[in-house]
């Protein structure tokens, strides 16, 4: 059985298909159709709902795309939809602001915007324009051009985030705590197919031994597409989002170690502290809805050639701590990606945590180039970890995405950099070596020619950004 609060109503389910999405539940089972389907692929935000979760004695409100969120993942949480925001017939402040500032035209994307804006309202008092953009970048509107929506979000400045949910926060927390203590593990079973919600690494390891073909659901932001787009029907799904050992972050002098089930959003503050260039990349990884669900572990295990964190983890020489049954092993990130979506992860194995070594003398630059600045997949993602002494490159690890069938290091370019001055002239050999490292393909996002040219130019950008002109804006996002 899985149990969750649907606003303030307790819902208990046990015979739902394990691959039921929250959106499907809302529209076809609960028949609450305020939440819309725009794309069913997590790219438009029309289906945005808010999930409230008890974390450290507080409710954390996260906007997520209900179309790529599996129902089983709601176990122990509160689901809030656009239908729940009105109180006694009065519009919620975010709803009223959108009405007053003409923020809706056709209205189809509006419920999703309302829910993202509601999460913003709960989490960020008096948001800046940049925070509004970050909070709403996962919601597409085709009518308004966004200006009135931005104004509506900004107009909430000074409001304290108070509403009926604040009033009932303690009661909700208690109900969620009770709910989880009564039913720690969750499970859906339908026609011999299962969704498991284990709570410990031991449980997870044992489930994977029993079901070696099971699909692990961390954020599910990519996996869910196989269900909503390819219409696959996986037999067993195992959710990692409640496995305690996978949700921890350890910060030591030597390394930052992030549990494989930690969402990007949760990892962001510490990454920002230790690897600011990495954290800046996260701002452009998917949308807030995706970052609230997606995990570093999932991004690595998924091994997509266009995943954005593997290039950085390659550059930073991360170590993956993997568990299979009772066996634990460490796999260096260099040895992990074996081929297109093929990794060194053993059968029934899973990543428990990712260790990112800290190297104080290392400079990290991370660049993402895509058609659109918000919520787009990289044409090229480049991470350059360099140690520069007296103007010369002493050590270099260059991780690239979008350039090969896997995330990959540019080994020849690294060799060409080492020992050279880090200047326009000094990197020419490395730029040329990139053409030996990679023969990128043409696809819907970019041509191979462009990818290679950009990769070469990004080396130059790194030189400029660390050189005499570093005061000058070098990237459009810095200028604007």
């Amino acid at each position: 059985m899985i149990r969750f609060l649907f606003n303030d109503e307790l819902v208990c389910l046990d015979d739902c298909s394990p691959d039921t999405t929250v959106l499907e539940y809302l529209r076809t089972i609960a028949e609450q159709r305020g939440t819309k389907e725009g794309c069913a692929s997590g790219d438009c935000g029309a289906c945005t709902v808010v999930i409230a979760e008890a974390i450290d004695g507080q409710l954390r409100y996260c906007n997520v795309n209900s179309c790529i969120t599996f129902l089983g993942g709601l176990h122990g949480k509160q689901l809030l939809t656009v239908e729940h925001l009105q109180q006694s017939g009065a519009l919620h402040p975010v709803q009223q602001a959108m009405v007053d500032l003409h923020g809706s035209q056709c209205g189809f994307c509006t419920p999703g915007f309302i829910m993202s804006m509601f999460a913003l309202y709960k989490n960020t008092h008096s948001p800046s324009r940049a925070e509004v953009e970050r909070g709403l970048a996962g919601n597409l509107c085709r009518c308004t051009g966004y200006r009135p929506i931005i104004d509506a979000a900004l107009s909430l400045a000074g409001k304290s985030g108070q509403d009926q949910f604040s009033d009932s926060e303690q009661a909700t927390l208690e109900r969620l705590t009770t709910l989880v203590s009564e039913t720690p593990t969750g499970q859906l079973t339908y026609r011999g197919r299962h969704f498991f919600v284990p709570t410990s690494s031991d449980e997870l390891a044992s489930l994977l031994l029993t079901y070696p073909d099971a699909k692990l659901v961390a954020g599910g932001t990519d996996l869910a597409l196989s269900v909503t787009q390819q219409l696959q029907q996986p037999n067993v799904l195992i959710y990692t989002g409640r496995v305690a050992e996978l949700l921890t972050i350890t910060d030591s002098d030597a390394a930052l170690t992030i549990g494989a089930g930690v969402s990007y959003s949760e990892a962001e503050p510490l990454l920002h502290q230790h690897f600011p260039a990495f954290a800046e990349l996260l701002d452009r990884l998917g949308s807030l809805q995706v970052r609230n669900q997606g995990t570093l572990g999932g991004n690595v295990a998924n091994a997509s050639p266009i995943g954005d964190t593997p290039p950085v983890l390659l550059a930073l020489n991360a170590v993956l701590h993997v568990r299979t049954g009772d066996q634990r092993q460490s796999i260096g990130i260099d040895d992990f990606f074996l081929g297109y979506r093929h990794t060194a992860l053993p059968e029934s194995g899973f990543i428990e945590r990712i260790e990112i070594p800290k190297q104080p003398d290392q400079q990290l630059s991370v660049f993402k180039v895509s058609k659109r600045l918000d919520d787009d997949i990289s044409a090229v993602c480049a991470a350059l970890a360099l140690v520069i002494e007296e103007g010369h490159v002493r050590a270099a690890r260059l991780g690239f995405g979008g350039m090969a069938a896997t995330p990959a290091r540019a080994l020849k370019a690294e060799q060409a950099l080492i020992g050279q001055p880090f200047t326009e002239a000094g990197i020419v050999a490395a730029q040329q070596a990139l053409a030996q490292d990679f023969q990128p393909i043409d696809d819907v996002r970019a041509t191979g020619t462009y990818r290679l040219m950009v990769a070469q130019n990004l080396l130059l950008r790194a030189v400029y950004e660390q050189g005499a002109d570093k005061e000058q804006a070098m990237e459009v996002v810095q200028y604007a």
Partner: protein, 783 residues
């Protein structure tokens, strides 16, 4: 009705409704999730769900179609194939060529072959994928220039001509030639195509359809079913966006649902998942354009030979009118003294491209706006000066290539006002200075105008009807032929009727657009929704006002001139009055009909296509925009950092709604020219088939500086309260973004080279243009 409503409590205080920023009539429902779209409706018991099986190849023949596994799939109730259609198979909107289903010839990837109906949507979708189809595949024609070379056209070419362009070109001091590719655009309405058909009596049906053209859906459903039109009612409350994509191409899904209702006797819903929607429906036409242009030392154009060629896809659909409109706008705002314009309708093996905001106008304007920048680089002056110099002017410079005189031309004044308010000249100097010290980033600036012709170019579409009921409590229902897709049409109609009757807009309820209330309607398209339906609704309101006035005059013994409507009241005689509700009851009791239709047809317009002469447009809507961009010369990434717009809406009926159209149109146009890239692979399969690969503008693409002002001045023509249409014209203001990108790129050549920049100007195309410009500069050549 025996007892009349108690109206003693009704207050009528608010009056006068146009000209104020009334909120969208559905806004509180939008934000609460209670606004109902077709897919949200409570389905009748036993409703089936349809999923469309479509071709995976772009050209060839179906050799074998095995649907046994489809029929055997879980939950499947029935399958519709082409031989099941009792009536018309071809649902082409104007010309033939659009079979609802095919069993033989395949002309594009995504062509519907069968429709499966199952108990749930997921079951239907799973079943549809189980078809085993064998094709004999042929090489698809995908290149518009090849189609043009081979004269593979869906319709004959059309030509406009005035004067002797050959002589003018031969004698001009300067002559330039250029070609450009202008990309298409996916509508990406957030609500995908959807229809729900419910069986009714006598073989009829009630069809809920997400369509901009209920009357056409009614007609096509009747034709595929082979029943008279009077058996079919189409109901449309609201769309989650249309933008032209639901003008002709909303009909197929309604026809499929209706045919499945006929086969099964049960209600059927067909709703397209996003990838299916993007694969099966047409888009904005990509265009291939060319100019040959002659000009003098000041950059004044002397002669122009222009070609626009639309990539229409596999069938005509609305392409004849779309390419015509591209031709009508190949001059944009500029006088072309001796001119020839050729328009071609090229056939390729893709979906049939269709209406999209601007309807060919934007693609046509692109060629002349390219010419303006190119001329400026030759003459060595600011492109704004070239644009101003070439504007339509007074006598001798006011005749379009299709022989319509440009009257009431406000553009020079409008542009100069914007030039001032945007601080264009000072910014130009500051940007040039800044660029000289910036190593990687280059900024660009451009001002481009828009002159857009208002009216359907198919004359008979320029008519509309409305129906108003006044009930005995004084409340009013208004129905009209236009559809609400977010543009605020219903809001404006409420304001118009409220103003005509001097009553509180809150007393007016707009109901779903229905073919059994107002028949034989035109599509809500061509920016004409308010112009046509608003005037029809106003006429209906005036009819009712007249009847009530006559009744009061007769009963109260005064002249009709002594009856007036003001402040929610009806006044007569010497200072006597009653509330509007009381007047309604008074009229009812005196046996006056309180229901009236209204009708309107646009005056003055005509076009002789044989001669390519006439007045296709009742008037022009105008505007101008200044855009500023910053470009990264290492990656081609860019950002639009500032936009100033001044747009002519006549007397605004609703400034907030008009501003919404201007801003939304601008950003949509910006997406078309920048990040929205349609890609078909070499087999003709659309690979940009979802929002992960097709990138419409997102929130941080909206520029931080975004100043929008209305150029408020009464329309000189007799439009509804002297307003102007606003749906499409602002879309083309975004050409300023493209021009600003070219300006920034040109800076790397110190403005000597005018870079070619096909659209969409993705970062990749921008980087290539930067490299090409630098290379050309290195060769020391001029463009």
């Amino acid at each position: 009705m025996r007892n009349l409503s108690d109206i003693s409590h009704t207050k009528q205080t608010k009056t006068g409704a146009t000209g104020v920023s009334k909120k969208h009539e559905s806004a509180p429902k939008h934000v609460a999730g209670t606004a109902v779209y077709v897919d949200d409706m409570q389905e009748p018991r036993g409703t089936l769900y349809g999923a469309v099986g479509y071709s995976s190849i772009a050209k060839g023949r179906i050799m074998a179609l095995d649907l046994a596994s489809v029929r055997a799939s879980e939950g499947v109730v029935d399958v519709l194939e082409v031989q099941d259609i009792p009536g018309h198979i071809d649902i082409g909107a104007v010309f033939g060529g659009d079979p609802l289903l095919t069993s033989d010839e395949v002309k594009y990837q995504g062509q519907p072959i069968f429709v499966v109906a199952a108990a749930t949507e997921l079951q239907a979708r799973r079943a549809a994928r189980k078809a085993i189809i064998q094709y004999q595949e042929e090489t698809p024609l995908l290149d518009v220039t090849k189609a043009l070379g081979e004269q593979q056209f869906v319709r004959p070419s059309h030509f406009m001509k005035r004067g002797d362009q050959d002589a003018a070109l031969a004698n001009a001091p300067h002559r330039l030639q250029a070609k450009q590719h202008v990309g298409g655009q996916e509508h990406f309405y957030l609500e995908g195509q959807a229809a729900l058909a419910v069986p009714a009596e006598d073989g009829g049906m009630l069809v809920y359809s997400s369509t901009q053209h209920p009357s056409e859906v009614q007609k096509l459903v009747a034709e595929v079913l082979n029943v008279p039109l009077n058996r079919i009612t189409v109901d449309m409350r609201r769309m989650g966006g249309g933008f032209g994509g639901k003008e002709s191409q909303g009909a197929a899904w309604a026809c499929m649902a209706a045919l499945l209702v006929m086969k099964t006797g049960r209600a059927v819903k067909v709703r397209l998942p996003r990838v299916d929607d993007m694969s099966m429906t047409g888009k904005r036409h990509p265009f291939y354009n060319a100019y040959d242009i002659g000009f003098d030392e000041q950059g004044l154009i002397l002669g122009a030979d222009i070609m626009v060629a639309g990539d229409c896809g596999h069938s005509p659909d609305l392409s004849d009118a779309i390419v015509d409109r591209a031709m009508f706008h190949a001059d944009n705002a500029y006088y072309l003294p001796d001119v020839a314009i050729a328009g071609h309708r090229c056939m390729t093996n893709t979906v049939s491209h269709t209406a999209f905001r601007g309807f060919g106008g934007p693609q046509g304007m692109m060629i002349i706006e390219r010419a303006m920048d190119d001329i400026a680089r030759v003459i060595g002056c600011d492109p704004l000066d070239i644009r101003k110099r070439n504007l339509y002017g007074g006598a001798g410079r006011d005749m379009t290539p299709y022989h319509q005189q440009v009257e009431h031309n406000v553009l020079l004044e409008l542009i100069e006002q914007l030039e001032q308010s945007s601080d264009y000249r000072a910014r130009r100097d500051e940007i040039t200075q800044w660029n000289s010290t910036s190593k990687v980033l280059k900024r660009g600036l451009a001002l481009t105008p828009v002159k857009f012709g208002i009216s359907f170019t198919l004359q008979h579409l320029n008519q509309a009807g409305a129906l108003i009921h006044i009930y005995t409590d004084g409340s009013i229902q208004v129905n009209h032929g236009g559809t609400e897709m977010g543009q605020g049409l219903h809001t404006k109609i409420i304001q118009i009727v409220a103003e005509a009757l001097s009553i509180d807009p809150n007393e007016i309820q707009i109901t779903a657009t229905r073919t059994d209330k107002v028949p034989n309607t035109s599509p809500t398209a061509a920016s004409s929704g308010t112009d046509l339906n608003g005037q029809a609704a106003k006429n209906a309101a005036l009819t009712l006002k007249q009847r009530i006035s006559e009744c009061i005059a007769e009963q109260k013994g005064c002249t009709i001139e002594q009856v007036s409507f003001a402040d929610g009241k009806v006044h007569w005689g010497e200072g006597e009055s009653m509330s509007f509700a009381e007047a309604a009851q008074f009229a009812y009791v005196n046996r006056v009909s309180l229901s009236a239709t209204g009708y309107y047809k646009t005056p003055k317009i005509w076009y002789d296509r044989e001669q390519a002469k006439g007045r296709p447009f009742f008037y022009f809507a105008n505007g101008a925009a200044v855009s500023e961009v910053v470009v990264d010369t290492l990656t081609g990434e860019y950002k639009v950092v500032g936009v100033d717009i001044l747009h002519d809406v006549g007397r605004s009926l609703n400034p907030a709604v008009d501003r919404g159209q201007i801003e939304g149109g601008f950003i949509q146009g910006m997406g078309w020219l920048t990040t929205e890239e349609l890609k078909w692979n070499e087999k003709g399969v659309l690979t940009s088939n979802g929002p992960a690969t097709y990138k419409i503008p997102a929130i941080s693409d909206t520029p931080k500086r975004f100043n929008v002002d209305l150029f408020e001045r009464d329309n000189d023509e007799e439009t509804v309260y002297h307003s102007k249409a606003v749906g499409e014209p602002p879309f083309m203001l975004a050409i300023s973004v493209w021009s600003a990108l070219r300006d920034a790129i040109s800076n790397v050549s110190d403005y000597n080279v005018s870079p070619a920049l096909d659209t969409p100007a993705t970062p990749e195309r921008v980087l290539h243009a930067v490299m090409a410009t630098k290379a050309e500069m290195a060769r020391g050549g001029e463009s």
